[in-house]
């Protein structure tokens, strides 16, 4: 609809007949004014581009300097991470594994949970149930991460994580409670994206399945799930990318020890929570420790950027199928 309006504008012609009737001096002023507005809008619209460039630019130079001081092989070839100590260790693997563990736990909560909620909203819920469920999801989506973090430390860690984990001790700080709560945090997002994908399936497909005698479960697990699969995957990828970037919950619930371990009962540090942790202690600007923040930030940015691009690609492909 906007396109009908945007066909090359301002200058003159049929779109602004009154301007044509004005005395030529006023008309020219009018046109200059319109042109200035256009330039101003273009400039302001490029702010988003400038910020994106700024994000990349802020990372590049310190990261480059970091790798001048710390060999690439140390960063990716070692499992000892204590960059702010003396002597320092710069092996990033503990952070990568920590990020991976928190992500996996969060995914195990959010993807099945979000999918189930989406199925329920899409096929099972009456209007009344919907009216209760939607606000609950909206409130859950609006809870600040620091509140989730507090909840993770004071409630989930002692009452859930330390109770349900079957193998070994679960410490006060643990990746398990962080992952569970991050999963709850991204669940509304997963639900919304999955339900959007389900809602865009042509009704004829669903009704055809019901007409052939399929039960609601069969409609959900076969027709809807398969037709919406790419949208569901795209949503899951976005949600996972959000989980990877989550800082505050992990920082509060999983502590600040970069342990190289796969045991979720232990404290772990993720890429994001390291950045937050290092940012608390005011690092001297011209130190390797300060640049570590940027190196880890670059890694985090690249990972989330790739995931987002993958998701956008999937969505684009998905759109082509139905339109």
């Amino acid at each position: 609809m906007a396109s009908t309006f945007t066909t090359e504008p301002t200058e003159s012609g049929p779109l602004s007949p009154l301007v044509d009737l004005l005395p030529s001096g006023q008309k020219r002023r009018q046109q200059t004014y319109e042109r200035i507005i256009r330039v101003v809008l273009t400039m302001v619209a490029s702010v988003a581009v400038v910020i994106t460039l700024g994000v990349v630019a802020s990372l590049v130079q310190p990261t480059y300097q970091f790798f001048q001081e710390v060999p690439f092989g140390d960063f990716f070839g070692s499992t000892k991470w204590y960059p702010l100590f003396d002597p320092p260790g710069f092996g990033v693997w503990p952070l990568v594994v920590g990020t991976f563990m928190v992500m996996v736990i969060a995914t195990l909560v959010a993807v099945p949970g979000g999918l189930a909620t989406a199925f329920f909203l899409n096929q099972y819920a009456s209007d009344r149930t919907r009216r209760y469920l939607k606000p609950i999801l909206e409130i859950l989506a609006g809870i600040p991460t620091v509140v989730f973090g507090f909840f993770a430390v004071t409630f989930v860690s002692p009452n859930v994580a330390q109770k349900i984990w079957p193998v070994g001790e679960v410490g006060f700080y643990n990746a398990l409670s962080a992952g569970l709560v991050v999963g709850i945090m991204i669940l509304p997002m997963m639900t919304t994206l999955a339900e959007d994908a389900m809602a865009s399936i042509p009704r004829s497909l669903v009704e055809g399945a019901y007409a052939l005698g399929a039960t609601r479960r069969e409609v959900c697990t076969t027709v809807i799930f398969q037709a919406a699969l790419s949208g569901i995957i795209a949503g899951a990828v976005i949600a996972i990318s959000r989980a990877i970037g989550e800082t505050t919950i992990v920082l509060l619930a999983s502590g600040s020890n970069a342990e190289f371990t796969f045991n979720p009962g232990q404290a772990m540090q993720t890429l994001a929570s390291f950045i937050g942790f290092a940012g608390i202690g005011d690092q001297p600007t011209d130190s390797t420790g300060y640049r570590t923040i940027f190196a880890v930030g670059s890694l985090l940015f690249i990972v989330t950027f790739v995931l987002n691009m993958v998701s956008i690609r999937i969505v684009r492909k998905f759109r082509e199928v139905y339109e």
């Binding site: 945007t6 602004s16 319109e34 988003a48 802020s58 189930a116 329920f120 970037g245 800082t247």
Partner: protein, 298 residues
């Protein structure tokens, strides 16, 4: 084969039996468990916080300043700090978002190269983890070219950049929802393009823009990660009075109290959470009121 299957409803019912039926029930139970998970978590979170923090929620707490001694701990400077940071960042982001939305919706063609390029940037920006905005702020705003230090101005700037993508998306949707008949009518009466936008399109889009931007502001109000890196994690015992002042915000006070060893601080953290949630719910309520009041059928 299909004929006798569909013709008789009893045949249809009999196919839904045995294994299929029990699997249907198990599936439904699974869905209910997921529902319960969401609802129970939310309820537990709210009730647990309220029960813990209620006793601390006094005037002394609201009017006192943050303090390393739990019995004196308050959050006045954090409440004012939050307002000082969030209001300018919201207004700034709102201005940029409206201009960007107008440009994209009214001045560029759908799927033109410039629109695709700006879209890609907005999408990228929306996917950047919030803590990376803290890095951006650290490198360019607090230090580096701008060198504003750990001040209200830095925080407002960084949060404004962070909520910009949300605001742009909201403003675009609101502007797109304005029917083209309104534009065409205005143009037919001789208004120029900008007159049409300023007097017709934007006013018609105001409720949508307001609703979306309130949600953006509410996100800025609850955000903590970038500000952890920008010096807000401190016991600030005075109210900010300008953009150059040091500051703290409510989410960071919650963080600070939550990480203190003494358990009395947990109560302060919970009380601060109640204050934060009340402020956010008030904002969201405002958004709902605006949305409902201005519901127009085009």
């Amino acid at each position: 084969m299909t004929v006798h299957m569909v013709s008789d409803p009893t045949t249809l019912a009999s196919t839904v039996s045995g294994g299929r039926k029990s699997r249907d029930v198990i599936f439904l139970i699974g869905l209910w468990v997921a529902m319960l998970l969401c609802t129970a978590t939310l309820l537990t979170l709210l009730v647990d916080t309220f029960v813990t923090g209620r006793s601390k929620l006094t005037w002394a707490f609201l009017s006192g300043h943050p303090d390393p001694f739990p019995e004196d701990a308050g959050i006045q400077s954090a409440i004012l700090g939050s307002l000082w940071v969030v209001i300018p960042s919201g207004l700034g982001a709102l201005f940029v978002a409206i201009c960007t939305a107008i440009y994209l919706e009214e001045y560029t063609r759908t799927d033109s190269r410039i629109q695709k390029f700006i879209n890609l940037n907005i999408q990228t920006l929306a996917g950047v983890p919030s803590v990376v905005f803290g890095i951006l702020g650290l490198a360019f705003v607090a230090r580096g070219p701008l060198s504003w230090g750990f001040t209200v101005g830095t925080a407002a700037m960084v949060l404004g950049m962070m909520i910009l993508p949300v605001m742009i998306v909201a403003a675009r949707e609101a502007i797109r929802a304005v029917p083209s008949s309104l534009r065409e009518g205005s143009m037919a009466l001789g208004a120029t393009k900008w007159q049409t936008i300023r007097r017709q399109v934007v006013p018609a889009a105001v409720p949508g823009i307001a609703t979306g931007s309130i949600l953006g502001v509410s996100r800025a109000l609850g955000e903590s990660a970038p500000l952890i890196m920008l010096g807000a994690l401190a016991y600030v015992t005075f109210n900010p009075s300008g953009f150059g002042d040091y500051y703290t915000v409510i989410p960071l006070m919650i963080f600070k109290y939550a990480t203190e060893a003494q358990t009395e601080f947990q109560v302060s953290a919970a009380a601060a959470i109640i204050v934060l949630l009340v402020m956010m719910f008030a904002l969201n309520f405002l958004a709902i009121v605006i949305r409902d009041r201005s519901r127009k059928a085009w």
